[in-house]
């Protein structure tokens, strides 16, 4: 007695037609199909739809999402920078000021340029250009 039902056979046959390994053997499939008219009809219908679909190609969308994505991941990166680099800069500037206040000490002209070096280092670290014009800023009336 053949206990394989039509749906199992159809699934297996479709897998076979898709060049995949079916869950039933070719012999089991053919044995069932030999006696089942309904399965024959359904396979023919499947092949018609299959031919129709195989002639299609996906419609290519013309788009550029980078600017929109960049806007969001840019803010994500900025939020990851956090407050630490700025706290460090503050601490270094305070230390510099304390050193500068020491009486009877003259560290020379180069020493006076140290805060500028700190600030430049900070902008390099956070990968920001302080001179960049933010085109998104709108004047408030």
């Amino acid at each position: 007695m053949n206990k394989i039902n039509c749906e199992d056979v159809l699934m297996a046959k479709m897998a076979e037609l898709d060049a995949e390994k079916p869950e039933l053997s070719g012999e089991q499939i053919n044995l069932h199909l030999k006696h089942c008219e309904n399965c024959h009809t359904e396979i023919e219908q499947f092949l018609n739809a299959d031919t129709l679909l195989k002639r299609q190609a996906r419609n290519q969308q013309d788009l550029d999402l980078w600017l929109a994505v960049e806007k969001h991941i840019g803010s994500h990166l900025k939020s990851e920078i956090g407050w630490r680099p700025f706290a460090l800069l503050g601490a270094l500037l305070v230390a510099f000021k304390l050193l500068e206040m020491l009486p009877d000490r003259d560290f020379g002209l180069a020493f006076k340029l140290v805060p500028l070096v700190f600030v430049i280092a900070l902008f390099v670290l956070i990968r920001e250009n302080p001179f960049r014009i933010n085109a998104e800023l709108v004047l408030e009336r």
Binding site: E7, L10, M11, M14, A15, D18, E20, E23, E42, Q45, F46, N48, A49, D50, L52, L53, K54, R55, Q56, A57, R58, N59, Q60, Q61, D62, L63, D64, L65, W66, A68, V69, E70, H72, I73, G74, H76, L77
Partner: protein
């Protein structure tokens, strides 16, 4: 530059490397999202959000694996979130899943699009991935995060439904 090199650069914090991935996959992703959502505006929102999700999670991505199947899972999640609070679906005339130059008469192509539109999104998704992207059962299982046996049965029922819609049995 292959995906794993680009992903490695992204993991090292190079934002511009991520641009390569966006530009490489945005059209494919939009096509997939449109096939699920049948709404271009929602689909583009989903693609954009999925790329942002991908960027945030890029450090957890195993770069020895292909990028797109991993990204597709994120995209799918975004699409399904949108369907949960869905806007009005656009009329089927406004959406074209299939390329117009497919060689099929426009009435037949439209009938096929209409039949696809009337399928549940899961069926539409598996059929378009199978036929328009030519994914194998293993690839379908990976993209949809289901077992191969489930791919077989889901594909079978989806095709059966599609055929019924095409022949007008289920109007």
């Amino acid at each position: 530059m292959d995906d794993s090199t680009v992903v490695k650069k992204c993991q090292n914090g190079e934002k511009d490397a991520f641009r390569t991935l966006v530009e490489r996959y945005q059209r494919q992703a939009a096509g997939h999202a449109i096939a699920i959502l049948f709404n271009r505006e929602d689909a583009l929102d989903a693609v954009q959000d999925a790329f942002i999700d991908a960027f945030k999670a890029i450090n957890s991505f195993d770069k020895s694996r292909p990028f797109y199947p991993w990204f597709y899972v994120l995209l799918r999640n975004r699409c399904y979130k949108i369907t949960a609070k869905k806007r009005e679906t656009e009329s089927v005339e406004d959406i074209e899943i299939f390329a117009p130059q497919s060689g099929l008469p426009s009435e037949e192509r439209f009938a096929l699009e209409k039949a696809l539109h009337s399928l549940p999104k899961e069926d539409r998704e598996i059929i378009t991935l199978k036929y328009l992207d030519g994914l194998s059962y293993d690839e379908l299982a990976e993209n949809l995060q289901i077992r191969k046996g489930t791919v077989m049965s889901r594909l079978f029922y989806a095709r059966r439904q599609l055929h019924a819609k095409l022949t007008g049995k289920l109007h």
